[in-house]
């Protein structure tokens, strides 16, 4: 959602990454990463499933500003596996009377593919305005573990919250839509809605709902976390929701949920991703 009457002069920037399985190993076969997108070289861990490639997304601009309009498509071919994360949180800066930043992520996972899309949370600074949308399309037998989290940061501690957040997470399977989670709120309402927690987030396990109980058990044991799990077996979905006292608790929750999901799905604990 943009500020009423505000004209955006920002050029949309669209990035894409394409992974394919070649002989049981996943390779980054296509990339288009214009500024401010930047990526590291893909690498592998032996304990990861299906020859998974791990790739870090980085920003060369230091976050989202004003009316940035960024889009990212991550596409996995049949049987491919990728772990895509970020080097650090995405800082959403004060929109300063601009329309607000747009971030549109499309995740396409081909049949039998396995995508872990685990960006660090968006840090919403004083005055920030963000319209965030993550859409996933899953092929037959595909699995997706994805996180979506936000942190309200008021660096001056003077009660000047972010401006507005509009957020959508949508997942579609081979037979049609599976879920649509949408919310929008003014920053001034954040703490009342979260019961005083600075951070909120969710981890979606799609095509992998059996990972849900393990994710909840792992997160529920952490200090500063308040979490609950929804499971929709008819749609193969597990949704872990949580509130976190601060950024440290939030990071621990994301890591613990992912680790637990991986153990539940493969029997092996994943190698920690350094940041």
């Amino acid at each position: 959602m943009t500020a009423v009457g505000t004209l955006s002069l920002t050029r949309p920037v669209r990035a894409s990454l394409e992974f394919r399985d070649v002989g049981g190993q996943t390779h980054l076969m296509g990339q288009h990463t214009p500024h401010p997108f930047h990526i590291t070289r893909p690498f592998r861990h032996v304990t990861d499933p299906q020859g998974m490639a791990t790739l870090y997304l980085q920003s060369s601009s230091g976050g989202l500003y004003g009316d940035d309009d960024l889009g990212l498509t991550v596409r996995l071919g049949e049987g491919a596996a990728a772990h895509v994360t970020t080097q650090a949180s995405t800082i959403v800066h004060d929109a300063r009377d601009r329309a607000g930043a747009q971030q549109d992520v499309l995740l396409e996972v081909g049949p039998g593919g396995w995508l872990e899309y685990l960006p660090d949370p968006a840090i919403l600074m004083t005055g920030a305005r963000l319209n965030n949308r993550v859409s996933a399309r899953l092929g037959e037998g595909a699995r997706l573990i994805m996180a979506d989290a936000q942190l309200s940061h008021d660096p001056g501690g003077d009660g000047r919250p972010f401006g507005r957040l509009d957020n959508v997470v949508a997942v579609t399977g081979p037979q049609g839509p599976l879920m649509l989670d949408r919310f929008g709120l003014e920053g001034a309402d954040w703490l009342a809605r979260t019961g005083g927690a600075r951070c909120s987030g969710m981890v979606v396990a799609a095509g992998a709902d059996e990972a849900g109980p393990a994710m909840l058990a792992a997160v529920d044991a952490l200090p500063g976390l308040y979490a609950g799990l929804s499971v929709f077996p008819d749609r193969g979905l597990g949704l872990l929701r949580f509130l976190a006292r601060d950024g440290v608790a939030l990071s621990r929750a994301l890591s613990a949920a992912w680790t637990a999901a991986r153990v539940a799905l493969t029997g092996a604990s994943p190698h920690a991703r350094r940041k």
């Binding site: 949408r182 929008g184 009342a192 809605r193 927690a197 929804s230 929709f232 949580f242 509130l243």
Partner: protein, 228 residues
């Protein structure tokens, strides 16, 4: 008797706690919050209503009610609205509660002959989705139109039902006395009226994570007063 008085009488009938909607079996997470020591007395209950329950209804349920009210004579469109409500109800316990109340309402209104209720009950059965659809706001829109209410009357009745249900749960959980409950309701009326006077958002959305998570945390294997 004027049409206005007639519709007011129907609204009072269906909003009464003796009307068998089943809504009073749900606490919207309050029972968990109380058990976890997160809710003390009247001030906490009022804050939860003002910060969680009312905003969630205004931003989410209200839009499906309005759509269903406008489409009350069109069964195919009603099913499509119900399906969207299903996809967007991403808190499983609250989704189940909404379906149970919606289907109970539909059954009662079909029995008492409210226009449109039996037709939608039959549409649900014929669709093969009777177990996944029948959400409360969709049914409230249908029966509101069938009772001859204006849309804003149907909205006020539905919001009142949510607030009354939560307050009643607080009384039964021992967090409020009966008089305190009435004070909370009186104090909240301004917020409710102001919320209903505002245009709803363009699309339904919900962000009341504290009560949503609390509803999810209700242990399934322990005796509870409420189903959420």
């Amino acid at each position: 008797m004027t049409d206005r008085v007639f519709s007011l009488l129907r609204l009072l009938q269906t909003a009464d706690s003796s009307f068998p909607s089943g809504a009073f079996a749900f606490s919207s997470g309050l029972e968990t919050l109380a058990a976890e020591g997160r809710v003390g007395g009247a001030a906490d209950v009022r804050a939860l209503l003002a910060d969680q329950i009312v905003p969630r209804w205004l931003g989410f349920d209200r839009l499906f009610l309005r759509e269903a009210f406008a489409a009350a004579a069109d069964p195919d469109t009603l099913l499509e609205i119900d399906r969207r409500c299903h996809l967007q109800n991403t808190v499983d316990r609250l989704a189940e509660a909404s379906r149970r109340v919606g289907r109970a309402l539909l059954t009662v209104h079909a029995r008492i002959g409210t226009t449109g209720a039996a037709e939608y009950r039959d549409s649900l059965a014929a669709s093969g989705q009777a177990t996944t659809l029948g959400y409360e706001p969709v049914v409230q829109g249908i029966v509101g139109a069938g009772l001859g209410l204006a849309c804003d009357e149907a909205e006020a009745g539905a919001l009142n039902a949510v607030v009354m249900g939560f307050t009643s749960a607080a009384v039964r959980l021992g967090r409020l006395g009966a008089l305190d409950a009435q004070s909370v309701l009186a104090a909240l009326a301004d917020d409710m009226a102001a919320g209903l006077a505002r245009m709803p958002p363009a699309q339904p959305g919900a962000f009341s994570p504290l009560t949503e998570i609390a509803a999810l945390r209700r242990p399934a294997d322990q005796a509870s007063l409420f189903a959420t």
